[in-house]
Amino acid sequence: MTATSSDRTRIAIIDYGMGNLHSIAKALEHAAPTARIEVTNEPARIEAADRVVFPGVGAIGQCMEELHRRGLDEVIRRLALDRPFLGICLGLQALLDRSEESGGTTGLGLVPGQVRRFPEGLRETDGAVLKIPHMGWNQVHQAPHPLWAGIPDASRFYFVHSYYVQPDDPTRVAGRCHYGLDFAAAVTRGPLFAVQFHPEKSQQAGLRLLANFARWDGDPRPRQS
């Protein structure tokens, strides 16, 4: 089934036992009131959806194990480049080749690159030592992409993470953030869009991103409007 911009678009939120999916479901309901939203761990139901959200918090080692145990890793590999697909937080990190977390973890390999830990002793420009996790509202500098429609550049989004992604191909970076170092806050590949921050906790900017996703046709080329 291909994605459409129909009002009754079906959105599956992948439930694999990692973290609290209520927030993302509630935010999607609010941002896209006519969408049919389902939190599910069943591959068939995920396959039947027009769009897929891949959330997650916690440790990536356990995340990959849970995905594999439930047969969801293959589902994600199949669907992520097939229809509008939104990765959030750990759902971004798991898309890369490899993470330093959990003693070195192999990811899904959908976006070539690495996941690294923020180094100890990072400092702000004023010399203050930066706390890890990177927690709170930080600015995202956009590269043109339809999912940023209506969201001013450098808007703040809510982050909480200790690892960041580093795609090999810089053109895959759809948004950049700075915390002691520059890192990718959003990554794109075809109909796949994945963010390090939590749109479901990022008030207006986050809700707009979710609303954009709920009606996105999966074409990553920026629109002329």
């Binding site: 609290n20 209520h22 509630k26 609010h30 916690g58 890890i132 709170g136 509202w137 809510y158």
Partner: protein, 255 residues
């Protein structure tokens, strides 16, 4: 361009109503928690914290309903504290829509609870709340107290913060019992001692009476976030005014 310092209004909730006074004395009614949370969200709060100060089992469900209602319409991080004693309490609050829980007394009774909770739910949602009181000067020393500041424990506050972070706490909510409700400002020496001792973010709490206190907590206290209740509840200042004030002092805030 960097991470914004956070302003977190705190709602002390007793039997489904927002209250705030000098802690446990002279409690004033400040309204319906859902209404208040909605207003703070509109004004630009970066997060909202609910503290269930009744913490009696028959009122626990009231808090769950409050969180459910707020989480359905306020899309910023929500923290719930008070009466979080076992994993089932955490699960219940996360399911209701909370993003983090604050663990206080239960961590003192069983320090391993924080480790278990962080392993199961992730450090990002485990805040350890520390209520500290000064017990010595030159050198300064603070001890942690439980049961809303009534029960001394003999545990050093800075050591305790370090230990809780080692056990998996993702954030520390640090309240000065000496300052709470006084409007004299944060205990800056305490805040700085804890903030400098741990690698995770520290939220300063207790004593805010004017906007300069928020600035002091960040600049002199080295806090990553500032929490306040009464200055916002009774309309003395809006969150928006607080952010304008902080921005004018050169502090990065979300606007």
């Amino acid at each position: 361009m960097s991470l914004a310092k956070r302003i977190i209004p705190c709602l002390d909730v007793d039997a489904g109503r927002v209250v705030k006074g000098v802690r446990f004395v002279d409690i004033r009614d400040a309204g319906d928690p859902v209404e208040v949370a909605r207003r703070y969200d509109r004004e630009g709060a970066d997060e909202i914290t609910f503290l269930d100060i009744t913490a009696s089992s028959d009122q626990r469900e009231t808090m769950v309903h409050v969180v459910e209602q707020v989480a359905g319409e306020v899309f910023i991080p929500l923290t719930v504290g008070g009466g979080i004693r076992e994993p089932a309490d955490i699960r219940r609050m996360l399911n209701a829509g909370a993003d983090k829980v604050a663990i206080n007394t239960a961590a003192v009774h069983d320090p391993d609870f924080v480790r278990v909770a962080a392993d199961r739910f992730g450090s990002q949602c485990i805040v350890v709340a520390i209520d500290a009181k000064q017990v010595a000067r030159d050198p300064d020393r603070w001890e942690i107290f439980t049961h809303g500041g009534r029960k001394p424990t003999g545990i050093d506050a800075v050591d305790w913060a370090r230990r809780m972070v080692a056990n998996g706490a993702g954030e520390i909510l640090l309240t000065s019992m000496d300052r709470d409700g006084t409007k004299d400002g944060f205990d800056l020496a305490l805040t700085r001692a804890v903030a400098d001792a741990v690698a995770v973010p520290v939220i300063a709490s207790g004593g805010v009476g004017k906007l300069q206190h928020l600035v002091d907590g960040i600049v002199a206290g080295h806090a990553d976030a500032v929490l306040a209740a009464s200055i916002f509840h009774f309309g003395e200042y809006s969150i928006h005014e607080a952010k304008d004030y902080m921005a004018r002092q050169g502090i990065e805030v979300r606007r």
